[in-house]
């Protein structure tokens, strides 16, 4: 019985897609990386609160500083390969959201591309 369990557990771990680590978390392409505006664990826990609450202050009160700008988040975190935070299984936003099966609504309207790359393309 125990052997059966152990076999199943091992199979599950082997069967995980190459985007996941051995302990199950999706592997993310964090783009430029470096120092984020907040600690990563804080961000993981609170990024939706930041997005939901901060966006109201930005839209209604015009507060657009670096820390409060979605464009800025994307500037750092867009993949260096395709300049986007969605589209690939390991894209910064897509990776976890696909894993958790939570649909991302933001990019129906917001550009998911790194703006500096777009500006370069235009020139």
């Amino acid at each position: 019985m125990l052997k059966l369990f152990a076999l199943l557990a091992a199979l599950c771990m082997c069967a995980s897609a190459d985007a996941t680590e051995s302990y199950g978390m999706p592997k993310l392409d964090i783009g430029k990386g470096g120092q984020c505006v907040e600690e990563p664990q804080w961000m993981r826990k609170n990024h939706m609160k930041v997005l939901f609450q901060q966006r109201d202050e930005t839209v209604h009160q015009g507060i657009r500083d670096g820390k409060y700008s979605l464009k800025n988040c994307i500037e750092c975190h867009a993949s260096l390969r395709d300049n986007s935070v969605i589209g690939r299984a390991d894209s910064f936003c897509e990776g976890c959201h696909r894993y958790e099966a939570v649909k991302i609504d933001c990019f129906e309207c917001h550009s998911s591309k790194r703006s500096s790359a777009l500006v370069q393309k235009e020139h």
Binding site: K32, G62, I63, G66, E108, C109, H110
Partner: protein, 238 residues
């Protein structure tokens, strides 16, 4: 060795690896989006004064600039968004013709704000009337209410939006007075693009601003002033 120890080792190895990967690129190279950190206030009221005498027939530079700045397609079919348009007028009695650019008039008492069920259509403290796309459910009541036909509805899925100008299918949109530029201290794209400098942008609440001084001295009107909306856009020469 027990399974737990093996797992612990793997975890430690992976975390150290991840930390290294995270810190190794090192320097912060990200662009700072320069913007305001203070909320806007009603001490400022943004407005425009448009001189129709200098508005050249057949010139579309303001519209083109608006389209380019905001990522609009520039298409002219009935389902395409037009935030700004040139209107050709002909006085029915005298036959005099003129042209002027028409966009959201950024009223002080906007009918679109009154009718919006979710409060998505709102007036910012500094007078700019906007659509909060996070709240817009796409009912189009504001489009019915607007006396100036300023609003457009996005009829199809959009791609490649400008990062500064989010737009999406199923929501209503209109001229934002280039709020993303204004908040950086710049002029709206149309004002900057007009070759004849017919569009003057400024703070209506500042008596010493260029626009306030001009409004005090030359004749200008609001379109459909009879509706009592106190628009932020004024026109000379109608």
């Amino acid at each position: 060795m027990s399974d737990t120890n093996v797992q612990r080792r793997q975890f430690l190895k992976t975390s150290v690896g991840a930390a290294a990967v995270a810190i190794a690129p090192g320097m912060l190279l990200f662009d700072m989006a320069h913007g305001k950190s203070d909320p806007v206030s009603s001490k400022v009221r943004w407005g425009m004064l448009i001189d129709t005498a200098n508005c050249a027939d057949g010139c579309n530079d303001c519209v083109t600039a608006c389209n380019k700045e905001n990522g609009l397609s520039g298409g002219l079919s009935p389902t395409d968004s037009q935030w700004m348009r040139k209107v050709e007028l002909k006085d029915m009695r005298s036959g005099r013709t003129l042209a002027l650019p028409m966009m959201c008039q950024h009223c002080e008492e906007p009918p679109c704000v009154d009718v919006c069920p979710t409060g998505a259509s709102f007036k910012r403290a500094d007078g700019i009337v906007l659509v909060d796309k996070h709240l817009c459910i796409g009912c189009r009541y504001c489009m019915m209410a607007c006396p100036y036909k300023a609003r457009s509805f996005v009829h199809e899925p959009l791609h490649d939006q400008k990062p500064d100008v989010p737009r999406g299918k199923g929501t209503v949109e209109s001229c934002t007075m280039c709020v993303h530029r204004v908040d950086k201290g710049q002029q709206p794209a149309c004002a900057e693009a007009c070759p004849n400098k017919s569009i003057m942008f400024g703070n209506l609440n500042d008596p010493e601003s260029e626009i306030s001084k001009k409004i005090r001295t030359v004749q200008s009107t609001q379109i459909r002033a009879d509706l009592g909306l106190n628009t932020g856009i004024r026109y000379q020469g109608i």
